[in-house]
């Protein structure tokens, strides 16, 4: 029985280090290859030894697909391809291909240069890894090999984020990566056609949340920033350099403009300019409105937002700072946080999800004392606000996607077990499909029931369709009869006559003859004539012929009349029919004969 097997190496009942192995139609595919922000040890990367204990992965994987540039989806890629060893194709969209190496390099710098870790991937490895990348365009069908094809759909999570459909023969899987079903200020909404995959693997970060309207959240955000700045406080917004940051920048920029505010807004890394450049060059990946107006006004050229210098953090007076990374687990954002945490006038706004183990996660859970490296503790006095701006689908969005794609089975990853459980029940109830949520290292098998594609001869099909009429009749289904020829790899369905011809076989005629005795005073010819007239009147829908050589032919039943010279009134009626004539029809004929007799 054909089946699809799915094993998460990461993101199974967890958020972080997304890495999902899928086996479908004899092909093995790795979906995403991310790192975990919550760990600094081996658990940071997926456990690739699951695939093989010894050595390189190339022969075990047909391809690797990266859904978007966030490190929890691509952070382990150079480690996997260069240190563990994989030389096959890695697929990602153009924007992901452009931005991913920059974030990887950033990640490497923080880990190696700042934290001094060794045994980590090098800049060269990132470059070598990126050489294996094959860019994907939206909706393009990419033939990985003869059988395996993949197709990317817009996911709306960050610039270049994609959902991907994997297809082998008539079996298919859709992996969503991270996606967002509501358009925001810079990206459009995820979309997929009714592709009816055997399995839909969806993220479930916000499995239990139904978020209020985007507008409310935006108003709330602006109000909080405004209030803090008004009372002279500093606002820290930890973000990832690309993605949510641009949306919030657009939001603050327009607000500052409208309210004529003077407090400076800074963006922490040198990435800003570069990031905005990417947005400009990949404007076809942003939302409708930005794309339409980009010639007149480029939304990514900001007037109020300036580059941040480390020394500004100690400047007096209010300011707003966007700093990376987004979960306060390292880097500039953590540095600024440490500086500002002690003042209750200040505020930190966490605009996205924080992985367990990060400072972001801790403070969001209300922790007021943080243990820092070197046994120091940090008192958290500043206000901590959480605003769900990260562009994940909420429960409503996930249900919406299921309705769009109409999968036969569902599998949840990239979420917390408890929340998944809840969503799983809901999905099973509402759609009556099976929903799975394997943990890391746990394999889920889904039995598929593919139909068998066959080449049918057009003659046979047309004949059948003509006989069957334009609409099928449920009460009187027509049975079609054909011969399936299996030769080499081809399956062809043809009419039995054609099959005989093609196979060079001659038909074997099987006929039956029986004699019916009948008393009739007429001559042989007249008897036959009477039989003919009678049959003609009774069997109106059959073709009946009276052939001049003394036979009557009803379809393929041959009737002859003879008599012996001794008993001219005793007629012997020879009734001869072939095997293909249904027996019951035949019996009927006989009965008719007897009724005629009487």
């Amino acid at each position: 029985m054909p089946e699809i097997r799915v094993t998460p190496l990461g993101a199974g009942q967890d958020v972080g280090r997304s890495c999902i192995l899928v086996s479908i139609g004899g092909k093995n595919i790795m979906l995403d290859c991310g790192m975990h922000m919550g760990y600094n040890d081996d658990r940071r990367f997926p456990d690739f030894s699951y695939i093989t204990q010894n050595g390189r992965l190339t022969e075990f994987l047909d391809c690797v697909i990266i859904s978007h540039f966030h490190l929890d989806h691509c952070g382990a890629l150079p480690y996997m391809s260069e240190m563990v060893g994989y030389d096959g194709p890695i697929y990602m969209t153009h924007p992901t291909k452009a931005i991913c190496p920059i974030l990887l390099e950033d990640f490497r710098k923080i880990t190696v240069d700042k934290k001094g870790e060794t045994n980590f991937f090098t800049s060269q490895m990132i470059k070598d890894c990126m050489k294996k990348v094959v860019p994907l365009n939206l909706h393009q069908t990419v033939q990985v090999d003869e059988e395996l094809e993949i197709k990317a759909y817009y996911a709306g999570h960050v610039l270049g984020a994609a959902m991907v459909q994997i297809k082998v023969g008539s079996e298919s899987v859709v992996y969503t990566g991270d996606y967002n079903m509501t358009p925001d200020r810079h990206l459009g909404a995820a979309w997929i056609d009714k592709c009816r995959p055997d399995l839909l693997i969806s993220e479930s970060t916000y499995a239990t949340t139904i978020r209020d309207s985007k507008r409310c959240r935006e108003r709330d955000f602006l109000k909080k920033v405004h209030e803090t700045v008004e009372r002279g406080g500093k606002v820290l917004i930890p973000v990832f350099a690309l993605g949510r940051a641009q949306e919030l920048c657009i939001l603050l920029e327009t607000f500052w403009e409208r309210m004529n505010l003077k407090a400076p807004i800074y963006f922490s890394t040198g990435l800003t300019e570069k990031a905005n450049h990417y947005y400009k060059l990949f404007i076809t990946w942003t939302n409708q409105k930005i794309r339409k107006t980009f010639v007149q006004r480029n939304m990514f050229e900001f007037k109020h937002i300036k580059a941040f210098d480390r020394s500004y953090a100690d400047n007096p007076g209010p300011m707003v700072v966007f700093a990376t990374p987004g979960m306060l687990h390292a880097g500039q954002s953590l540095l600024i946080f440490k500086k500002w945490a002690g003042n209750e006038k200040n505020m930190v706004i966490m605009p996205g999800y924080c992985v367990q183990g990060t400072v972001g996660h801790k403070i969001l859970n209300g922790q007021k004392k943080l243990e820092m490296e070197g046994r120091a503790t940090l008192d958290v006095k500043l206000q901590v606000e959480y605003m769900s701006f990260s562009a994940h689908a909420d429960a409503k969005g996930i249900m919406q996607l299921i309705r769009m794609a109409e999968p036969r089975n569902m599998l949840l990853v990239h979420g917390e077990a408890k929340k998944m459980e809840f969503l799983k029940d809901k999905i099973e109830q509402e759609f009556s499909i099976s929903c799975y949520m394997p943990a890391n290292g746990e394999t889920t098998s889904i039995v598929t029931n593919p139909s068998v594609p066959v080449d049918i001869s057009l003659n046979l099909l047309k004949r059948e369709m003509a006989l069957g009429g334009p609409l099928p009749d449920a009460k009187r289904p027509r049975t079609m009869h054909g011969t399936l020829i299996m030769k080499d790899d081809s399956l062809r369905l043809v009419s039995p006559e054609q099959a005989l011809k093609e196979l060079g076989l001659s038909e074997h005629q099987l006929r039956f003859t029986c004699r019916v005795l009948l008393h009739d005073p007429h001559s042989d010819t007249d008897t036959l004539g009477r039989i003919y007239t009678h049959l003609k009147s009774v069997l109106k829908s059959y073709s009946i012929q009276h052939v001049s050589d003394g036979t009557v032919i009803v379809e393929s039943i041959v009737i002859k009349v003879t008599s012996s010279a001794e008993e001219p009134n005793l007629k012997v009626i020879l009734l001869s029919w072939s095997y293909q004539i249904a027996d019951s029809t035949d019996t009927k004929k006989k009965k008719k004969k007897s009724s005629f007799d009487l």
Binding site: N137, S451, L461, T479, H481, P496, H508, Q580, A582
Partner: protein, 658 residues
């Protein structure tokens, strides 16, 4: 399967393919060469043009001085320029299901097709094709609407009058079908019907046909199309290029195994080498500038202009002309330059990799930044105050009949210091210049047409081996001007099927098979038997279900038992449909094993008689005769139905069922 040819123009095709119950229009090019019969539309009042004498026939009998003007011995229509549309009468345009667009030059007739014709289908195009096509259409509309003409000239079209006109007007064909330009509303409405597709995207049409655009290497987003079912494949090749310019290279291998290849859009100037022309372009440009003259380049607002700018970007500094300003004047100049930078996915590798840095893929961004290239929506406004001479002006329309180029012709035409360099191959430059004669300015003809030439196409066809080629008639003979150049035509075996405007071609297809799916339950129930080594057969009795052009076979339902309560039924006539038809039989019934089989089943008294063709078995106890022949078995058995069926089943054991 049929092909309706609505345009005879080889590079502005418009064909309709009827393929498996779908009606697919391939491109809808607009032939703008008809505009050459018209007088230019000046942006600023032109004393010269307004003083041209009207035309009166020699004997004075026909006076059309309001409609026709004479200039240097040629007669032009003084009216808003008109275009030659694809044929509208050959088939009902409302029956078209989809229109496939191959590149932005081949979609300019779209509003004429989709508006006011009852068209309800969809149009498929890539994103660059749509966006740049929209720019070109908007530009055309602006060119026309900026200079409104009070009334349209129609008298000259009268057959009786037209034949008395001087040539070339006398020989213009189908003049009554010419139409003036569409409106912005019509453009918007037409383009709202476009659905975007990406290269290699498989688009299903009604479940019957799959269409796929492939990169054709000619312009941003330009595509060739594959139209196929599971068994038949038509390739539509239009405007393709193998040269390395800015677009993504042409995808060739997917064109293999085509039953029919429709070939259009080859180079219009097969004798000119684009690289050589580019060199000539640069040297003529440099010469003029050095001598203090201006250079006018009439061009389309997208396409080759990007390559020209890139070429000049490198050339000007090396020629020590770095300070010469370039002006690009078009209502869509800014948009065209901006759009060119955002379609990285559609560009060649080299340009694509720039975006990863991130840098704009085209160097004209730098030309703009350094103020070397300036763009203006028209000659009015900032341009008039900012422009310096000598300079290079890129502007449209290449027909020289409308657009800002008309103004520069009037302005610079009288000085022999200036040069006009023709790079677009769509118009005869002599015809284009006719209403400006006498002209002092230098004229250089450097047509740059990057589309396939005959040498490239014959190599391509050798590689991809289509069974049949369909092409416009001109490709099947040498160019009229060079009748001895048999290398400038397609020579193929079998010879290509040629079409001209209004041809209807029957395509040589024999469809034999269709895809059908056996439901898994049905597939499992089949019993295959091996007929010969490697070949197995199974009889299939199933119910056919056809929906949305997809066919599925499902297991036949179990016959519902007849309710037993009924009395002996009257003999009814209804054919017993629910019964499975019997399979055909094949093979032979061997005598000895058959006898053994009979014996095993209790029939022992058998008299065997040899005949010419086989044997006759007489089952003496039962009084049954069985004739055994190689291809036939005949059982003669009276009134013993159980015995007959038993014997039948014994015979069947030896035979294969199909």
């Amino acid at each position: 399967m049929k092909l309706y040819c609505l345009s005879g123009h080889p590079t502005l095709p418009c064909n309709v393919l009827k393929f498996k119950s779908t009606t697919i229009m391939l491109d809808c090019g607009l032939d703008t060469t008809a505009a050459l019969y018209f007088l230019p539309l000046p942006l600023v009042h032109s004393p010269r043009l307004s003083k041209l004498p009207g035309w009166v026939s020699k004997d004075g009998a026909i006076n059309l001085e309001k409609e026709l003007k004479e200039c240097s011995g040629r007669v032009f229509v003084d009216s808003q320029p008109e275009f030659c549309l694809p044929e509208k009468e050959l088939l009902d345009l409302s029956t078209i299901d989809v229109i496939l667009i191959s590149n932005y030059h081949c979609m300019m007739a779209l509003p004429y097709i989709t508006e006011h014709t009852g068209f309800t289908g969809a149009v498929y195009a890539t994103e660059p094709t749509l966006q740049i096509g929209r720019l070109l259409m908007e530009e055309l509309v602006t060119f026309m609407e900026r200079v409104p003409k009070a009334q349209a000239a129609t008298c000259w079209k009268n057959k009786e009058i037209q034949r008395l006109l001087p040539g070339p007007l006398k020989d213009a064909v189908d003049v009554w079908s010419w139409r003036k330009c569409y409106s912005v509303q019509e453009v918007n409405s037409a383009l709202s019907k476009v659905q975007l597709v990406g290269y290699s995207q498989k688009v299903e049409l009604f479940g019957a046909v799959q269409v796929t655009p492939l990169s054709s290497g000619y312009s941003l987003g330009s595509s060739n199309w594959i139209i196929q079912s599971h068994y038949e494949k038509v390739s539509y090749v239009s405007g393709s290029s193998l040269l390395t310019t800015h677009p993504q290279p042409m995808e060739q291998s997917s064109l293999k195994n085509s039953d029919v290849l429709i070939l259009t859009g080859l180079t219009q100037i097969p004798t000119a080498n684009p690289d050589g022309m580019l060199g000539e372009f640069c040297s003529n440009l440099a010469m003029t500038i050095r001598a203090g003259g201006n250079v006018l380049v009439p061009c389309y607002s997208s396409g080759v202009i990007y390559d020209l700018l890139e070429c000049l970007y490198q050339f000007m500094d090396s020629a020590n002309l770095g300070s010469t300003p370039f002006y690009f004047i078009s209502p869509v100049a800014n948009s065209s330059l901006e759009f060119s930078q955002i379609f990285a996915e559609w560009l060649c590798q080299n340009k694509q990799s720039k975006v990863y840095l991130p840098e704009p893929p085209f160097p004209h961004a730098e030309l703009i930044q350094t103020n070397k290239l300036k763009h203006y929506p028209s000659i009015h406004g900032d341009f008039s105050s900012e422009f310096r001479q000598p300079c290079v002006v890129f502007t449209g329309h290449p027909s020289l009949r409308f657009g800002d180029v008309v103004h520069f012709m009037e302005l610079w035409g009288k000085s022999s210091l200036n040069t006009i360099i023709f790079t677009e191959p769509d118009f005869s430059y002599l015809d284009a210049l006719a209403p400006y004669q006498p002209l002092a300015m230098k004229c250089v003809y450097c047509p740059i047409d990057t589309r396939l030439n005959f040498h490239q196409v014959s190599k391509l066809l050798k590689d991809i081996q289509p069974l049949h080629v369909v092409c416009p008639e001109p490709y099947t003979q040498p160019p009229p001007a060079q009748p001895h150049r048999s290398d400038l035509m397609l020579e193929l075996q079998p010879p290509p099927m040629a079409y001209r405007r209004c041809s209807v071609l029957g395509l040589p297809f024999r469809r034999r098979y269709e895809r059908i799916h056996l439901l898994p339950e049905l597939a499992r129930s089949l019993v295959p038997s091996e007929i010969k080594a490697g070949v197995s057969v199974a009889t299939v009795s199933a119910v056919l279900q056809s929906k949305d052009n997809k066919h599925v076979l499902q297991p036949a339902p179990k016959p519902t038992p007849v309710p037993p309560s009924k009395k002996r039924k009257r003999v009814t006539e209804e054919p017993p449909e629910s019964l499975n038809p019997k399979p055909l039989l094949s093979g032979a019934v061997p005598l000895e094993p058959f006898l053994a089989m009979l014996h095993k089943n209790g029939i022992t008294e058998v008299k065997v008689e040899e005949t010419a063709d086989g044997h006759i078995l007489h089952l003496q106890t039962e009084d049954v005769l069985i004739q055994l022949e190689e291809d036939a078995t005949h059982i003669i058995c009276d009134n013993n139905e159980p015995l007959r069926t038993a014997l039948r089943d014994l015979v069947l054991r030896f035979l294969q069922k199909l």
